[in-house]
Amino acid sequence: MDTDRQDDDALEAMFAQARAAGPDAALRARVLADADRVQAELAAMTPAAPPRRGWIIGLVSAVGGWGAASGITAAGALGLMIGFAVPDTLELWLGSGALPASLSSDYGVTPDLSALWVEVGDV
């Protein structure tokens, strides 16, 4: 039992000595040089991107800023609305008879403009 305890103590002392061992400064320097090299490689693989502004910001600045973008947007929306409304609603706005009957004819999409050339008395 006593011998077993001595063996344990001796082994533990040898383990403790092994724990105290460490790498020398030259190895540490080589490892840090490797780290520098790899870090440089990583930086090269992911180049520093310019600050991302997003495509909306880019588009707005390309047309002259938010003020211009608002005007363009409003004009676009109005045009779209008129496009959908023509010709029936437009005729209502302008007053009955302002447009030839054929403009508000069956399809209302491609008005028949021939009436514009028809004069009274023509056959």
Binding site: L11, L27, R28, V31, D34
Partner: protein
């Protein structure tokens, strides 16, 4: 710089890995100071050869740096466990390639500085431990080193060696018994004769 060291010193290894990948110039230094001694000691005790241990430790750290790009700071893997696993595999590969997976080759831990009996005895004890470790089967050797020299927990060792926790307990117990048996006849010579 001092403030930076203090702050970095408080960070977990995994966080330092991410900082390293993001170009932090000090993360590698802190990680090296934490992990290189462990990698070197592990390799040195498995291989019983200082020059080979340095090569293995350097290669293992190099692989760690390269792994940093995809490292998850909050991932399951701990850099220290990952590193020990790499060291274990690299060391075993070397032992097998050199045909000395059980027996130890010529040891080169001899202290170059002259004199000093105490240092000679220290070197003698280290050599004796390396020789006794080298007589153990590979897994026993790794388990004993990781448990009794590196102080890792059994679950960590199980992860490194890809075995169950019960197997680690068995490996370390049998390994320690075998070491004591191997060193029993050398106690006097190593200065452990009288308790």
């Amino acid at each position: 710089m001092e403030r930076s060291d203090t702050e970095l010193g408080r960070l977990a290894d995994g966080t330092l890995m991410v900082l390293f990948a993001n170009g932090d110039p000090d993360a590698a230094r802190v990680l090296t100071d934490r992990l290189l001694p462990r990698a070197y000691r592990h390799a040195a005790r498995v291989l019983g050869n200082a020059a080979e241990a340095e090569d293995v430790a350097q290669e293992a750290l190099l692989r760690l740096w390269r792994a940093a790009r995809t490292w998850q700071a909050d991932g399951a893997a701990k850099p220290s466990t990952w590193l020990h696993k790499v060291v274990a595999n690299l060391a075993i590969d070397r032992l097998r390639r050199s045909g000395r997976s059980v027996e130890l080759g010529e040891d080169d831990f001899a202290d170059p500085s002259p004199g000093a009996e105490a240092r000679l005895q220290e070197a003698g004890r280290r050599d004796a431990l390396d020789a006794a470790l080298a007589s153990l089967p590979e897994r026993q050797r790794q388990a004993v080193i990781l448990r009794h020299i590196e102080g890792l927990s059994n679950p960590e060792i199980a992860e490194i060696l890809d075995v169950g926790v019960e197997a680690v307990e068995s490996l370390t117990a049998r390994g320690k018994r075998a070491l004591k048996a191997a060193l029993a006849g050398q106690k006097e010579a190593l200065g452990y004769g009288h308790g």
